[in-house]
């Protein structure tokens, strides 16, 4: 089976058909083109734990309507306590799952990108594109550290 490469694992998540919600996937695709260990997924699901248990550092990238459009925030992630789980899981919940199942979890960051609109439609807004470029630059530099 495929295994994660050395270096941080970048996980961009969101629905590419819901406007700015697709920004995480957009960033992940950009990183992948640059040769980074990045994956784009519509939502976080339990089997990602298998990838996360193999890396030292993970960086999650997501759109966030609570931020100002175009704003980028980077926050350290802590493993969640118990939380509701449906077909998707929060990054913190996923880290907790990794810890419970594999007894280790990577150090992790969450990059949030301020979304303007998450309505039906493929294009990203100008504002979140700007934030996405910033996120790509950050990730590339982070990879080089």
């Amino acid at each position: 089976m495929k295994s994660a490469a050395d270096g941080p694992l970048f996980i961009g998540y969101g629905n590419a058909l819901l406007g700015d919600d697709g920004a995480g996937a957009y960033v992940a695709a950009s990183l992948r083109r640059r040769g980074l260990n990045a994956i784009a997924v519509p939502q976080l699901t339990p089997e990602l734990a298998d990838l996360l248990c193999r890396v030292e550092v993970a960086i999650f990238i997501d759109a966030n309507a609570a931020l100002r459009p175009g704003e980028m925030s980077i926050t350290p992630l802590r493993e969640a306590g118990h939380s509701l789980f449906e077909h998707e899981i929060s990054p913190a919940g996923l880290l907790r799952l990794v810890r419970e199942v594999y007894h280790r979890a990577p150090d992790s960051l969450l990059i949030n990108l301020g979304a303007r609109s998450c309505e039906l439609g493929a294009p990203l807004s100008t504002a979140i594109r700007r934030a996405a470029r910033e996120a790509v630059n950050f990730c590339v530099q982070f990879r080089g550290l």
Partner: protein, 472 residues
Amino acid sequence: MKKIIIDPVTRIEGHAKITIHLDDSGQVTGTQFHVTQVRGFEKFVEGRPFYEMPGITARICGICPISHLLASAKACDAIMAVRIPPAARLIRELIHCGQFVQSHALSFFHLSAPDLLLGFDSDPVRRNVLGLAEKRPELARNGIELRKFGQRIIEGAAGERVHPSGIVPGGMNRPLDPDVRDEILLNLAPARDIARKTLELFKSVLDQFPDEIASFGSMDSMHAGLVDESGGLQLYDGLLRFRDSTGDIVADGLPAERYQDYIGEATLTDSYLKAPYYKPRGYPAGIYRVGPLARLNAADHLGTPAANAELDEFRQRFGAVVASSFHYHYARLIEILYALERIRTLLDSPGILDPHVRAQAGVNALQGIGMAEAPRGILIHHYKVDELGAIKWANLIIATGHNNLAINRSVEQVSKRFIRDGRVEEGMLNRVSAVVRAYDPCLSCSTHAGGRVPLHIVLVNADGSVLDEIRG
């Protein structure tokens, strides 16, 4: 008159709520299962070229897009009037089996196992996959392994794990890579080991749930599924069969092209989900179930040795036609085993590596109907096109829709069994949600929500005042 509203129902795909009506003495008088989202795919695909349909309709779902890809591709094959190359047929079924493994694993291990293995009345804060991982890490890990195995089949054979690009009108757009075949074969035995162990574990705890088995949609209804000429289970091809609760075959050998003769669709005033019914019996007498339990009830046998032995045991234990929807879980585990056995058979087929995997053609028919078994039941895509191949009309009957009447009836049965004298307790209401989860409904899972609304139950008096409120 009072009513209890469960909104949203948790650990399902999509958005739904349940209303439970109580009389003045607190006894349940009626229930409603509402689907509160509308998708509209049938309308906005109008005007698109038919060959785009697999890619578009796969976006209905992020968990089981393969089912839509296959039903759509089959409808497109019919519009092109082609018979796809044998290797493409094998690869499509291989991908389909991978999808069954990963989808059923998600349903059992991560959505329903917390109820079944931690207890319906256990602490709701811990009654989820994290609580399961804490108490039974090996089980959570097994679920992850099975999901990963199924998704790797999809990715290896069709290009991507979610919304893969390999399934196209006329067949596949790539042959199967021999390295992918070998990789899948290498990992097949551990996957089968997990499936077997999980079945044994589940069978060992079944006796703990006599009340749930008796009241989780334990009812007479027809069961519909696809079968081959020998009556064996079919997931990708096959003809439609309806069997009633006495074991009699009501209708058999029905091709996709005749679905409208047998399936009517009722529109409900309180839900966006239509309620299909068996047309000759009318609405709502024509209630039937689809999905894992219905497939096992409709088929005569499963066609693979280990799964067949499990089916025999299942029937010896619960009857020739198993009535309780609680046993969707059991049936789901048997189907995982079946899918893993089929994967072996398909990979051993001599023609599966043949490079000829796509038939080319234009528009040769002005309509096409594709039918396949999705993990949750029969899925039908029906398209009408103009001479240039633009979609003029589309109708999709999603697997969960077939179960709409049965889910409604099951919710009522569970509510009447567990809600007495107007008492609202979390574990009791969890059972009402759990009966919905037994069907693993796929109301929509392609949207990505930024947050999560907890279980919310409101008890409302006849005058509109809130008597009680519980937030999960």
